[in-house]
Amino acid sequence: MSPVDWYLTLATGLFCIGAYGVLARRNVLLIVMSLELMLNAVNIALAAFANFMPHAGARGTFFVLFIITLAAAEVTVGLAIVVANYRNRRSVQADEFSELKG
């Protein structure tokens, strides 16, 4: 295995854990946290590529910075929705939010 593969294995593992969390968890807070986990797995992969491919310059790092910023914004909006929903329904369980079902 080349050095970058270790990082990619870690990233894949984190991503899968995050994906499982998104799919399996009922609690919206935990789903959001799992989403963060997936984003960070991608960040690790990007940072690793950036480090091991010098000719690509700093592009990978820039991407990581963008994703961190976007993730922060997303968490803000996501948590705001969770709070708003909690005020309305006294619940943070995702399967209870089904008003739009046809």
Binding site: L23, I31, D95, F97, S98, E99, K101, G102
Partner: protein, 631 residues
Amino acid sequence: MHVMITLIPLVPLVGFLVTLLLGKNVLKRRPEVVSLTAVTISWVLSMIVVAHVFGHHTKAVDFNLFTWVSAGTFHVQWGYLVDSLAAIMLIVVSTIGMLVHYYSIGYMRGDGGYYRFFAYLNLFMFAMFTLILANNYLLVFLGWEGVGLCSYLLISFWFHKKTASQAGKKAFLVNRVGDWGFTLGLFLIFTTFGSLQFGQVFAKAPHVSSGIVTWIALLLFVGAVGKSAQFPLHVWLPDAMEGPTPVSALIHAATMVNAGVYMIARSYPLVSQSHTAMLVVMIVGTFTAIYAAAIALTQNDIKKVIAYSTISSLGFMFMALGAGAWVAAIFYLFAHGFFKGLLFLGSGSVIHSMSGEQDMRRMGGLRKKLPITFWAMMIGALANVGLFPFAGFWAKDEILGGDFAAHYYFVWVVGLATAFLTALFMFRLIFLTFWGENRAAPDVQRHIHESPRVMTWPLVILAVPAAVLGLVVGLPPDGGWLHTFLAPVFFNVEKEHFVWAGTGGGLLLLSLAVVLAGIYTAYVAYLRRPGLPARVAALVPWAYQASYHKFYMDEFYEGAVIRPVMGFATWLWTFVDVKVIDGAVNGLAWAWGALGRALRPLQTGRAQSYAFGVFGGLFVLVILIRYFWGA
């Protein structure tokens, strides 16, 4: 000259638009003023044009106004052609048209659709003028359809009457059959000659194979059979009598029904090249002549008798065309326009005075009460049966002479028999209507009066040409003024089929004797011994019934055409439309509904199950890409 010719059809068109748009609300009490003015202007212009043609009859006026249709290689001009044939038609159409307009003031007074009636009459004049003045087949077709439309509108003028609206529909539909043939003829002319212009078509006509010419001539004749009410498409004309009587006189006796004869005569360079087509024209004409005369014998409706007489006369004209007696046919058309128009207007006057009664069995003895109408109709009848020296005599005799000279002896005999029958039924009409005791209900009898002057004057005016036209234009019988006048139209091409008509005094005397015998038979049967017709009818009931029921032609069409078509239409409706088409559309809607209901459970409403789909899809996608694309 060009401006005047252009104005002849244009003025009635303007009159039509003005009367139709402003008739009800602006012109109010006197809506006829505009259309009368228009038709009178047209008459004056026509007479000026005709006078010009009289002076220069060897040189036709032929000019184009503008390009009417231009598509690819297909170009049609809007143009007029005035030669001696068109001039004869102009005299008939404009004169009778104008007189009928004036007559209608009296006849239609007080009718709810008064202004509409005059608007239609003007539209008819426009279409008829276009038909006879056109210099190409497509423009003829425009006029042809235009007069057909007006015929329909005017037959069903009293549209609240079921029989009238039915008769209008019948006329329209039967004419479609003829127009189908005419249209095919136009197509064939265009593909053969590359033009529809008379001049170009006729110039090339001698160089085309006789097979194609025969087809063209026969297809054009199919159109003529429809429009001129020849067997077997004659059934619409008797029913067309549902329309107001001035319409019957103008459209269904004097002008429109002659369009077929005119068109065949106009196509002389084409038709005369095909012996087969000429023969077909003659046979159909001859058969129609005697067939219609046999029906007229037993009809009781005064207008129906004259209608069948018209069909018979038109058959006579086609008989002449087919036998090659072209001038005689036009001569007969010329005379027939006046005397048949006169007879119809006269019958209208009778009906008017009898408070709408049309059944001759309830008329009688009107000679004293309607003297002007009586004398006018007497002259019309004498001209129609062809008694010396009235107009019909010379024309009919030229036709019979033409048949004889062309060695069509059988046709000649049938023609004589038709002349006998014509004399018989025409004087049956005269005797039943004007002699004997009046058989109407007492309250009708009290109201019998001569028609107003606006109606009797046209009768008097029309009686003049009906009486003397033959003497003026037809003498001597084999080379009168009319022959010289029409010579440029009918002598340009091969002379093979032209027959000098009017052979000898023996034939003249013979046909005269036949006519007198017919009149005498009518006199015996309907005046001297009134019981005789009933006894003859009882003697040969099948013959009487066949004639009375018009040889069951309507029943034949009912069974052979109308019923099957109606049955087919009902089947299309109840099975194809309701079951198949509606079934398919409804079934399709149901199928999509079912599919939706089947797929509904997939929409769980849980975001995570959708997310599962997203991840699953992504997973499958990655595998697929890896499998098919990557290494």
